[in-house]
């Protein structure tokens, strides 16, 4: 593989990445990139910067459903398990109470709802984010170790229809970042 920055548009380029030093700046830069028509972009920040997802026009509609369905599954599995176990498979008369004594089945079904919802939230979030993922091209960005510390990165990806190494680089330079890097795959 070629090392160093290639100025020709080869498929080996992953993105052009600009580095900013504050959340305000990256937010403004992302909005400008969006206005300039770039679509395949992502930002990398040390903490959640509010407004960035909107600026990227990114909205996840799947995760809330994953969590909701997981929670409902918990409720039904909980109640179903209790009714099956205590009313059908092993009916036991306790003090003449009805076999399907649903009020006393609530706590277990409730806890199951919360448990499965939590699994849905955590594993749904990780799954949709594609984690764990040990390697990603963005890690080739010089100084990217600061993305988890105090720097904010905006990456315009090579798959963007408007992407052109030189023009994209010039565009990013016009946003006055700390630096612009061309990142290989």
């Amino acid at each position: 593989m070629m090392h160093g920055h290639s100025l020709t548009s080869t498929p080996a380029i992953y993105a052009v990445v600009a580095e900013f030093s504050s959340d305000n700046e990256i937010l403004r830069a992302t909005k400008r990139a969006r206005e300039a028509g770039y679509k395949k972009m992502d930002c990398y920040t040390p903490f959640p910067v509010h407004g960035l997802a909107e600026a990227l026009e990114f909205e996840d509609k799947v995760l809330p459903w994953v969590m909701f369905i997981a929670a409902l599954t918990g409720t039904f599995v909980g109640f179903g398990m209790e009714i099956y176990a205590l009313a059908y498979d092993y009916p036991m008369n306790v003090g003449g109470r009805p076999l399907v004594s649903w009020p006393s089945f609530i706590p277990v079904a409730y806890e199951m709802t919360i448990l499965l919802c939590a699994f849905g939230a955590v594993f749904g979030m990780l799954g949709l984010n594609g984690l764990p993922r040990p390697y990603h091209s963005i890690f080739n960005t010089p100084g990217f170790d600061l993305a988890s510390q105090d720097r904010f990165f905006l990456a315009i990806e090579a798959t963007d229809p408007q992407f052109d190494v030189e023009r994209t680089e010039q565009f990013l330079e016009s946003l006055h970042p700390e630096r612009v890097s061309i990142v290989e795959k």
């Binding site: 305000n24 990398y44 806890e111 955590v122 510390q149 016009s174």
Partner: protein, 501 residues
């Protein structure tokens, strides 16, 4: 590392903010991260406390070994008082755990950003306290090697657990609680582990933190889902934590034992749990912030607010005690009236008055701002509250059982040396785990502190030094929106070229 760009001067935040002193994002990383990355930071207080914890942990090992060899007969429990120290300690530990969830989930939901400084170690406290709690019912069941019988699984015995029993609800509540707490804790750790991965120079640390952070890269799209998941976890942990102690109180309230059978139990148990938990958070926070120089992160304002929560919950539990007195007499029920008189003036009367002293009288000192600023006094009061909450469970559980309906089955309860060893042993286990944690994981949530710092900066209309977004409108125009205003409501019109002047 490439070109190291100019570094802004850390901003000096005055006392009264949730972060004090000279801070920027990197200084936060350093203050918190070095506790893990530079193991030389851990000096004698760490070694001393860890050694004590480890020593006491040996008592737990000894007590459990002998218990497994001989059975629960080595404890002080008897036919009348079948629930002794084991259940007292179980409820006490679970209660302590609840403050962690309250801080991490409830305060997150109500957007109390001051929680950011204390939530990580409060969550760790939750996990470890619930671990300690779990040991007791498990061993009290007598044959812990078949504890899995409590879970519903198709088995050759052809039997199912009794889902109508509060004790089984407890199994579900506590296992769900520890699982969700662990997930919540881990999710909060992921971005911080990535920070440690990137800061670490040691290849082994880098590898471990790299693997543990799951390759987190801080993508805005990931953060978006992350926050959805995190807020949802907080949202479901809130009813969870209430349900857990409610169900623990059902262990008592659903029975017919005088002193247990009361509708006030769930709210009063939950308040007591928060009360004991905040006492434990203060017990840990006061020495840790001093030893690790975290005074700028866990500020006096945090300490003050925690003390106030302790005061508020002390009033709730005190109200509970008064209600119990009132109920017993108002009910006109012979057994209830006997129970409450026995509780106050019977053979264990001392424990009731000690409880009122610890939980009702001593915390009233917290009304004074001077006391809330005196760390030593606060530390002592926290200890007294911990003892008081332990006594509360003792009074409820043991004293009610010693004199039940039939005088022929009255019996005193005397804990044995094994009971004490188990209890002290779990204190050792807790200390051991807490101090082990402080050494290997960041004890304050770094990314949330950065977010908080960013909010504070926006609130102070300073922006960042090399991006003077608000330079021209310091005290006018934008004073209207509060500190919580999201960044995207800030004016963005100023052209980037401003920087070049």
């Amino acid at each position: 590392m490439g070109k190291l760009t100019k570094r802004e001067k850390p901003e000096i935040l005055p006392a009264g903010e949730f972060i004090e002193g000279a801070v920027d994002y990197r200084s936060l990383d350093n203050t918190i991260g070095t506790l893990v990355l530079n193991q030389g930071n851990h000096r004698w207080p760490w070694y001393a406390t860890f050694a004590i914890g480890f020593g006491l942990l040996q008592l737990l090992g000894l007590a459990i070994t002998w218990l497994l060899w001989r059975g629960v007969g080595i404890w002080g429990i008897n036919n009348s008082v079948a629930w002794g120290f084991d259940i007292v300690n179980f409820v006490w530990w679970i209660g302590i755990g609840h403050a962690g969830t309250l801080i991490s989930a409830v305060l997150l939901l109500v957007r109390q950003t001051w929680r950011n400084s204390i939530n990580r170690f409060a969550e760790a406290m939750t996990l470890f306290a619930v671990n300690c709690a779990g040991i007791f019912p498990l061993l009290h069941a007598g044959r812990p090697w078949v504890a899995y019988w409590m879970f519903p699984y198709p088995n050759i015995l052809g039997m199912w657990p009794q889902f109508r029993s509060p004790l089984l609800w407890d199994v579900f509540a506590v296992t769900t609680y520890i699982t969700v707490s662990a997930l919540f804790w881990f999710v909060g750790l992921i971005p911080d582990l990535a920070t440690l991965r990137d800061k670490s120079k040691n290849p082994i640390f880098k590898y471990i933190f790299g693997a543990a952070s799951l390759g987190w890269r801080g993508s805005a799209k990931h953060w978006h889902r992350y926050e959805t998941a995190y807020m949802t976890l907080a949202g479901i942990s809130t009813p969870l934590v209430l349900s857990v102690h409610t169900i623990v109180s059902f262990d008592f309230a659903v029975s017919v034992v005088p002193g247990w059978h009361a509708t006030i139990f769930p709210p009063y148990f939950v308040a007591g749990a928060v009360y004991a938990g905040f006492a434990m958070v203060l017990t840990l926070a006061i020495p840790l912030r001093k030893w690790y120089k975290l005074e700028g992160i866990i500020t006096m304002k945090h300490i003050d607010w925690m003390a106030k929560i302790m005061l508020a919950t002390s009033l709730v539990v005190l109200y509970g005690y008064v209600c119990e007195l009132f109920y017993a007499h108002y009910s006109g029920n012979t057994y209830e009236i006997f129970m409450i008189n026995n509780r106050m003036f019977g053979p264990y009367g001392w424990s009731y008055w000690a409880l009122i002293f610890c939980n009702g009288v001593v915390p009233q000192f917290l009304w004074s701002p001077k006391v809330r600023k005196n760390l030593l006094l606060l530390f002592v009061i926290s200890q007294v509250v911990s003892v008081g909450m332990w006594l509360e469970r003792f009074v409820i559980i043991v004293v009610s059982l010693t004199r039940l309906f039939l005088p022929s089955s009255w019996a005193m309860y005397y804990p044995t040396v094994w009971d004490w060893m188990m209890y002290i042993g779990t204190l050792g286990l807790f200390t051991f785990l807490m101090f082990g944690f402080v050494r290997v994981l960041p004890m304050v949530t770094i990314f949330e502190m950065k977010e908080l710092l960013s909010r504070i900066r926006h609130k102070r209309h300073l922006g960042l030094n090399n991006a003077p977004l608000h330079a021209g409108n310091g005290h006018n125009g934008h004073g209207g929106h509060g500190g919580e205003a999201p960044i995207h409501t800030e004016p963005l019109g100023r052209p980037a070229a401003d920087k070049e002047e």
